[in-house]
C-alpha cells in the first residue's frame, strides 16, 4: 500500500492513521481481554458463591432424604435465569434432586469434586454438600454465558463506534496537520524541480519555518547559491581555458620553430604550422605519419637513442639531427623534448638550425684563418728578428772596425757619432733578442709538471745574488704551494717580477721583496710585493704591452718587453696577471695559475 513512490502526503496520513488505528485497536483488544477474563472470573465467583449457599441449605435435605425440601431449594434458582441446570447428588452419586424438573436425567454429568469448568459456552460448578464435616452429597450448577456474551457484544459495539469516531477524527485532523509537514517539503521539491528543469539557479526556495525542513530549505538555498557561484566560476574558467588555448594555438601557429607532439611509437599527433616553413609539409600531411620517415638516414641511430632517453624521463635540449625536407633538402634541426608520462606523448620543439650551422661554420673558418695568420705573424717576427741580427751584427762589427782603425783620423765629433751608432746597434740587438724571446713564448710547448715554488724562488734569488748583494736587498718567502706548471716559463715570470722589484728602486733604499702564495678553489694565486717607486694607476694597463716603457733608458734600462712576456706566459697557464701599487711606496704584482693545468700533465 505504501511503496517508495507514494506521495509524502499519503505516507504521512497513512502513518498517522495506521498508528492511531493500531493504538486504539490494541487498547480495545486489551480492554476486551481484560473484560472477558474478569467477567468470566466474576461469573465463576458468583456461581461458586451461589453453589456454596445452596449446598449449605441443602445439607439437611440430603441428610434426611427430603426430596421435597431439596426441590424447594433448587426451585429458588428460578430467580436466576442464567442458571440453566442444577442438581443434588447423594453420597452414592445418585441424582437426588434436579432443576428444572423437566430436565432429563441423562443430561446430568457424574458428580465431581469441588471445582468448576467451562464447557460448550456454559459454566459448570460442583460443590460438595457438607454438614458439620460430614459429606452428604454434591451440588451441580450449570450457568449459561448469555450475560457475558451480551455484555461483550455491547462492548464490541461501543468499541466499533468509538474506533470509527476516532478514525474519522484522526483522518480529518491528520489531513489538516500533515499539510504543515508536507507543504514545505512539497514546496521545496517544486523549487528543486523548477531549478533542474529550467537550469535557472537564481530561483530560491521560500522558507516556511525554523524546523528541520526550514533548515533543509536554508541548506538547499545555500547549495543553490554555491552551484550558481560554481557555475559562474566554471564558465569563467572555461573562457579562460579557451583563451589560453587560443593563446597557445597562436603561439603554435606563429612560432618559427615546429612545435609538435609525438606519441609512443613515433607518430605525429599534433604539428604546428611552422612545419610548412621548416619541413615543407603541411601539418595535416604529417599528423598520423611516423616522424622517422622524415629522418635523415645517418642520424637514425642517435635519434632513436635520444628518443629513448626522453622516454626514460631525461629532458633533452639542443639535440641535433637532420630531416629531409619535402623538396629533398637536408636540413639540420635542434630539438628540445620532454616526455609526458600521463599522456604518453613527447612534446617537442624543432628549430631549423640551418642559419646557426652556417654561422658556426663561418666562425670556425674565421678562427682557423686567424690562427693561421697569427702563426704566420709569429713566424714572421721570428724570422725577422733572427734575420735582422745578422745585418745588425755586421753594422756593429764594421762600426767597431771604423772606430778602431780610423780613430786617429776621426775627430771627437765623429767618434761621438760612432759611439751613438754602436750604442744604438747594441740596443737594437737587445730589442731583437727580446722580440725573439717574446715570439718564442708559446711556440715551445713546455711540459707541465709539479713545481715547488719555494725551490723556484730560491733558484731565481741565487741567479740574481750579485744585484741583491749589491743593493743589500731582502727577499722573503715561505711555505709557497706546489703548482702544476711549465717550470722554465714560470721561472722566467718570477725572474722578471723580482728583477723589476730590484730595478725600480729609489736611490739609497734597500729593496724588500715579499713573495706570497695561496690556493683558491680553481687556481693558485701568487703575489710579489716590493717597496719600490710604485706605478701610477693610470699605467696599470699599459705596462703589460710590449715595448711600452714608463721611464727613459737613462733612469732605468730595459726594453719594456718583460711584463709582456710574463703576461703571455701566465695566460698560457690559464691565469691572469695584474698590478696594484701606491706610487712612491710599493708595488704588488699578482698572478694566478689555473688548476686545470694539472690535466695537461703528460702521464
Amino acid at each position: 500500500m505504501l511503496n517508495k513512490d507514494t506521495p509524502i502526503r499519503k505516507k504521512l496520513m497513512s502513518a498517522i492513521l495506521l498508528t492511531c488505528g493500531a493504538v486504539s485497536l490494541l487498547t480495545y483488544l486489551a480492554f476486551f481481554a481484560y473484560e472477558y477474563f474478569t467477567f468470566r472470573q466474576s461469573l465463576v465467583n458468583q456461581l461458586s458463591s451461589l453453589a456454596e449457599i445452596i449446598a449449605a441449605n441443602s445439607t439437611a435435605s440430603l441428610a434426611f432424604k427430603d426430596q421435597e425440601s431439596a426441590q424447594e431449594i433448587l426451585d429458588a434458582l428460578k430467580a436466576r435465569p442464567n442458571v440453566v441446570a442444577a442438581g443434588l447428588y447423594d453420597n452414592d452419586g445418585q441424582l437426588f434432586s434436579k432443576y428444572p424438573l423437566n430436565l432429563s436425567d441423562n443430561s446430568y454429568p457424574k458428580p465431581e469434586k469441588q471445582g468448576y469448568y467451562f464447557k460448550e459456552a456454559h459454566l459448570v460448578v460442583f460443590q460438595p454438600v457438607v454438614q458439620n464435616g460430614k459429606h452428604h452429597g454434591t451440588l451441580y450448577l450449570k450457568s449459561d454465558m448469555k450475560a457475558m456474551n451480551e455484555r461483550l457484544t455491547l462492548y464490541g459495539l461501543i468499541v466499533i463506534i468509538v474506533i470509527s469516531v476516532t478514525f474519522f477524527l484522526a483522518y480529518n485532523l491528520s489531513k489538516r496537520l500533515q499539510k504543515r509537514i508536507s507543504d514545505p517539503i512539497l514546496a521545496l521539491a517544486e523549487t528543486a524541480r523548477a531549478i533542474s528543469d529550467r537550469g535557472d539557479y537564481s530561483v530560491r526556495a521560500v522558507k516556511m519555518g525554523g524546523d528541520e525542513v526550514g533548515l533543509l530549505t536554508d541548506a538547499f538555498n545555500q547549495m543553490v547559491v554555491q552551484i550558481e557561484k560554481q557555475n559562474t566560476d566554471i564558465t569563467l574558467f572555461n573562457q579562460q581555458l579557451e583563451q589560453n588555448r587560443e593563446e597557445l594555438q597562436n603561439i603554435m601557429d606563429h612560432s618559427v620553430d615546429v612545435i609538435c607532439t609525438i606519441d609512443e611509437v613515433g607518430t605525429f599527433v599534433k604539428v604546428s604550422d611552422a612545419s610548412k616553413l621548416v619541413w615543407g609539409y603541411k601539418p595535416e600531411e604529417l599528423v598520423g605519419t611516423n616522424a622517422a620517415n622524415l629522418l635523415y638516414e645517418d642520424d637514425k641511430e642517435i635519434s632513436i637513442r635520444a628518443e629513448q632517453d626522453v622516454k626514460n624521463g631525461i629532458k633533452i635540449t639542443n639535440f641535433e639531427n637532420r630531416f629531409i625536407r619535402k623538396d629533398g633538402k637536408i636540413i639540420p634541426l635542434t630539438w628540445s623534448a620532454k616526455w609526458d608520462k600521463k599522456e604518453k606523448v613527447m612534446y617537442c620543439v624543432a628549430r631549423d638550425a640551418t642559419a646557426l650551422k652556417e654561422a658556426e661554420y663561418q666562425l670556425q673558418k674565421r678562427a682557423k684563418e686567424l690562427t693561421a695568420s697569427n702563426e704566420e705573424l709569429e713566424q714572421f717576427a721570428y724570422i725577422a728578428s733572427h734575420d735582422l741580427q745578422e745585418p745588425l751584427r755586421m753594422v756593429t762589427s764594421f762600426l767597431t772596425q771604423l772606430e778602431k782603425k780610423y780613430k786617429d783620423q776621426l775627430d771627437d765629433k765623429a767618434r761621438l757619432y760612432i759611439h751613438f751608432a754602436v750604442d744604438g746597434a747594441i740596443r737594437m740587438r737587445k730589442i731583437i733578442l727580446d722580440l725573439l724571446e717574446y715570439s718564442r713564448v708559446g711556440r715551445n710547448n713546455h711540459d707541465i709538471e709539479l713545481v715547488d715554488m719555494n725551490e723556484l724562488v730560491s733558484e731565481v734569488v741565487l741567479f740574481s745574488r750579485t744585484t741583491i748583494l749589491e743593493k743589500e736587498a731582502k727577499v722573503i718567502w715561505q711555505n709557497l704551494p706546489q703548482v702544476y706548471a711549465a717550470r722554465t716559463p714560470l721561472q722566467q715570470v718570477l725572474q722578471n717580477l723580482i728583477g723589476n722589484s730590484l730595478k725600480y728602486q729609489a736611490n739609497g733604499v734597500k729593496p724588500v721583496i715579499t713573495i706570497e702564495g695561496a690556493e683558491t678553489a680553481n687556481s693558485w694565486q701568487f703575489s710579489v710585493t716590493d717597496n719600490g717607486i710604485g706605478i701610477d694607476p693610470q699605467f696599470f694597463g699599459k705596462i703589460f704591452t710590449a715595448f711600452q716603457r714608463l721611464h727613459n733608458n737613462n733612469e732605468y734600462s730595459g726594453t719594456g718587453i718583460g711584463l709582456a712576456i710574463c703576461k703571455k706566459i701566465i695566460e698560457n697557464h690559464g691565469g691572469k696577471i695584474w698590478v696594484q701599487s701606491v706610487p712612491g711606496k710599493n708595488t704588488t704584482f699578482y698572478f694566478t695559475i689555473s688548476k686545470s693545468q694539472r690535466s695537461h700533465v703528460n702521464s
Binding site: 441449605n57 445439607t59 439437611a60 435435605s61 441428610a63 434426611f64 432424604k65 427430603d66 425440601s69 454438614q131 458439620n132 464435616g133 460430614k134
Partner: protein, 195 residues
C-alpha cells in the same frame, strides 16, 4: 412392606391398635397412600442414619461433654430395632471431635450420660413416666412412639408417603437446653406439647 412390619411391630408392642390407627389415620389424612405401601426396604437403617445425622444438626451444651474428646453417646432405651445398622452407621465417626458410641439401656436408671436417646420401651405405657423422668436432662429424645413429640419427647419419627419424616417439639428441646438447627427444623413438622 414397611407398613406391614410396623403394623406387626406395633402388634408386638402390645399397644398395636392405637399405633396402627395412628399410622392409618396419618396416611389417610394426607390421602396419598397408594394401595400397596412400598416402604423403604429398611426403615431401621434409615432411622439409624437419621439418628447419626441428628448429631450434626443439634447442639448440646458444653457441660454435657466432660472432656473435649468425650464421646457423644447415642443411647437406645428398651428394645433395639436397629440390629447392627446403628453400629455400622457410626463406626469410626465423630462429631466436632467427639467420637460416637452407643449405649443400650434396659431401664431408665441405667442412663447416666447420654446425648441422643432412642426410646422404644418394652412397655409403651410407661413412656410418659420415662419422659417425665428425663425432663430437664440434656438429652435429645427420639422415638417412633405415637404422640411422642406432643407428650414430652423432642423428635418423633413419622412415616409419610412412605418416607420417614420428623415431628419436632421445639419447646421440649429448648427445655433440655438443646439447639436444633433451623435446617433440620425446616424439614420437620413442628409440634407443641398437648395439655
Amino acid at each position: 412392606m414397611a407398613l406391614l412390619r410396623i403394623i406387626r411391630r406395633t402388634i408386638y408392642n402390645q399397644k398395636f391398635l392405637p399405633g396402627l390407627f395412628l399410622v392409618l389415620l396419618s396416611a389417610t389424612e394426607i390421602g396419598m397412600i397408594s394401595p400397596v405401601q412400598k416402604e423403604s426396604p429398611n426403615a431401621a437403617q434409615v432411622k439409624a442414619v437419621f439418628l447419626f445425622n441428628f448429631a450434626q444438626f443439634v447442639e448440646w451444651p458444653d457441660q454435657t461433654f466432660p472432656a473435649a474428646k468425650a464421646p457423644l453417646i447415642i443411647g437406645v432405651l428398651g428394645k433395639d430395632p436397629f440390629k447392627s445398622y446403628l453400629d455400622e452407621t457410626i463406626l469410626g465417626e465423630s462429631i466436632n471431635g467427639h467420637p460416637l458410641i452407643i449405649h443400650r439401656y434396659n431401664k431408665l436408671q441405667d442412663i447416666k450420660n447420654c446425648h441422643i436417646l432412642y426410646i422404644n420401651l418394652y412397655q409403651p405405657d410407661q413412656l410418659e413416666d420415662v419422659l417425665a423422668a428425663l425432663k430437664g436432662r440434656r438429652i435429645l429424645t427420639v422415638s417412633d412412639a405415637p404422640k411422642f413429640a406432643q407428650s414430652g419427647g423432642i423428635i418423633q419419627f413419622v412415616t409419610v408417603n412412605n418416607k420417614i419424616r420428623m415431628r419436632i417439639n421445639q419447646e421440649n428441646a429448648q427445655a433440655s437446653e438443646l439447639t436444633i438447627s433451623s435446617k433440620l427444623l425446616r424439614l420437620a413438622e413442628i409440634v407443641s406439647s398437648t395439655k
